[in-house]
């Protein structure tokens, strides 16, 4: 049952308190606010099991919600910490199974959305959030991808990322720095190749005009 006044007008502690009492509207508000970044974070690392892991995370949050104390940032950090723990557990189980299901659309995504010389690159604003995230962390190492995801998708600062990843802030900064350098190398080459191709097209067009 939704409250009479809009949810946005309620403060986060009020929503959190109502959710701790099992209020349906408060739980829905929390879910709608934090499910998208959590699901994107999980999908970027475990595409096949992200939805199930997200459900487990929310149930775990509900079981311990009455004992949670903190603000909105703390709740978000707590939520992603639980998600990361579930992700690690899933990877341990997957390591025992030695199989990892991967949807075909995700495997073909890099090919369909290749950057080299694709004119659609110019309209990246129309890309879906998950596709943009996949492009962003495609060539990064797992630790770099996780740090970037927490910074970009989760919206955490370096100390919060360090707390979630159980690393030092300096280590997180180094990981983000190396990730940015790798992105620069990748997109710089693509930009160079794109410029060269564009220049070649322009030269061809110029030669055609001159020939005419």
């Amino acid at each position: 049952m939704l409250p009479a006044q809009p949810i946005r007008d309620l403060s986060f502690p009020a929503v959190l308190c109502a959710a701790g009492n099992g209020e349906h509207w408060a739980l829905t508000e929390l879910f709608r606010a934090y499910q998208p970044p959590l699901l994107r974070y999980l999908r970027a690392q475990e595409p096949g099991m992200a939805d199930d892991l997200a459900g487990e995370v929310w149930v775990a949050v509900a079981q311990q919600l009455a004992r949670f104390e903190g603000d909105e940032g703390g709740f978000r950090s707590w939520l992603f910490t639980i998600g990361r723990c579930r992700l690690i557990e899933h990877r341990r189980r997957s390591a025992r199974r030695r199989t990892d299901p991967m949807p075909h659309d995700r495997l073909d995504g890099a090919v369909e959305h290749g950057f080299g010389g694709d004119p659609s690159w110019l309209v990246l604003d129309q890309l879906a959030a998950q596709e943009a995230i996949d492009m962003l962390v495609a060539d990064l190492s797992p630790e770099q991808a996780e740090a970037v995801l927490l910074r970009v998708v989760g919206g955490f600062a370096v100390p919060e990322v360090a707390q979630i990843m159980e690393r030092s802030p300096g280590a997180v900064r180094v990981m983000c720095h190396r990730a940015l350098r790798r992105l620069a190398t990748r997109f710089g080459d693509e930009a160079t190749e794109g410029d060269q191709a564009r220049e070649a097209d322009e030269a061809t067009e110029t030669e055609g005009v001159l020939a005419e």
Binding site: Q35, A62, A66, D125, V148
Partner: protein, 351 residues
């Protein structure tokens, strides 16, 4: 270092610059050319939620609400009391001061020390020890009783199924016909089957033989009292059998009164003669030596009166001389031995 490298290095040491870079809001005029594409991706990443991402909202919210409102199930609380009690015991053990036994362990780390004993632990340990001893003894007694009952049952079954049928199926022994003593004297010692050798070697030709019924139960044959009873019965047999069984003795030496005296001299042995017939006949030469010579008496005394009847002339003196070789006690013992040795296979002459 190129300007692009310097711009990247600033992200490492300048927090504000790093926030702008990862937000996709860094100044484009200072940023390298490739940052435009990265900034586009960074801005697209935290896009508003789509309907696909909120799929399953009602289900997950319902599960969350159920997890909050419903109490924990029994499975979730399984072992909770045990864990809580162990935690409490651990805390109490740590809180208790060390006993005198643990005084020497103070130099050891706490995780290597022996667990401190709670008050009354020794008493509880003693009770536990007594209980264990009682349980062990009860188990031992039960085992012994079970084994004994099993053994008894097995023995009973063997006796009932093997021994008794074997005894009951045993064919009855043939009874030898009675033969006259004179004719059967030589054969009697050999016809006594397995006891022949024994009887001959012991010279028990004058010993009475106990008559045993082959159909008599085995337990009676093995009973010594029963055998003695049979001997007594045989010894107390009616004297009417004597005339019929001792015709040869009356006929043997009528001229010598000593021979007639010899027969009543061993009443106990002659009573058994109906069973043995001829074995008790004394040799005539032994009697003649004991008698005084008649010629010496005829010169000084009137002629002797007619000889008295043999039964009346049975004087005790010759009886003593005659009973000496055999003896009642010795004969009884001899009879007992002979009977004990030959009752099993010896046929009863009296039927």
């Amino acid at each position: 270092m190129t300007p692009d490298d310097l711009w990247i290095e600033m992200e490492r040491f300048d927090g504000a610059h790093a926030d702008r870079v990862w937000d996709g809001s860094a100044a484009t005029e200072d940023a390298p050319a490739w940052y435009g594409r990265v900034a586009t991706l960074l801005r697209a990443a935290p896009a508003p939620a789509t309907a696909e991402e909120l799929t399953g909202e009602s289900e997950i919210v319902a599960r969350m609400q159920a997890a909050i409102l419903e109490p924990a199930t029994d499975d979730d609380l399984a072992g909770e009391s045990d864990i809580v009690s162990r935690m409490q015991a651990t805390i109490l053990d740590l809180a208790l001061p060390a006993d005198g036994d643990d005084a020497g362990d103070t130099h050891c780390p706490r995780h290597l020390r022996a667990a401190p004993s709670a008050p009354g632990a020794r008493r509880r340990q003693g009770i536990r020890l007594v209980r264990r001893m009682v349980a062990v003894k009860a188990t031992a007694i039960t085992t012994v009783v079970a084994v004994g009952v099993t053994a008894a049952a097995a023995t009973t079954g063997i006796v009932a199924t093997v021994v008794m049928p074997a005894l009951s199926d045993r064919p009855p022994r043939e009874t030898a016909e009675y033969k006259p003593p004179a004719a059967a004297e030589s054969e009697s010692s050999t016809d006594r089957s397995g006891d022949t050798d024994r009887g001959a070697s012991e010279g028990t030709g004058d010993e009475p033989v106990v008559a045993m019924d082959p159909d008599e139960p085995l337990v009676c044959m093995l009973d010594m009292d029963c055998l003695l009873h049979e001997v007594d019965v045989a010894a107390a047999a009616p004297s009417a059998a004597l005339p019929s069984t001792t015709p040869s003795t009356t006929e043997a030496p009528p001229a010598t009164p000593s021979t007639t005296e010899a027969q009543p001299a061993t009443p106990s042995t002659t009573e058994a003669q109906p069973a043995t017939t001829t074995t008790t006949a004394p040799p005539p030469p032994t009697t003649t030596t004991t008698a005084p010579p008649p010629p010496t008496t005829t010169t000084t005394a009137p002629p002797p009166p007619p000889p008295p009847p043999p039964a009346e002339k049975a004087a005790p003196a010759p009886a003593e001389t005659m009973s000496a070789p055999t003896g009642d006690a010795g004969s009884a013992t001899g009879v007992t031995l002979a009977a004990a040795g030959g009752t099993g296979s010896e046929p009863s002459p009296t039927g």
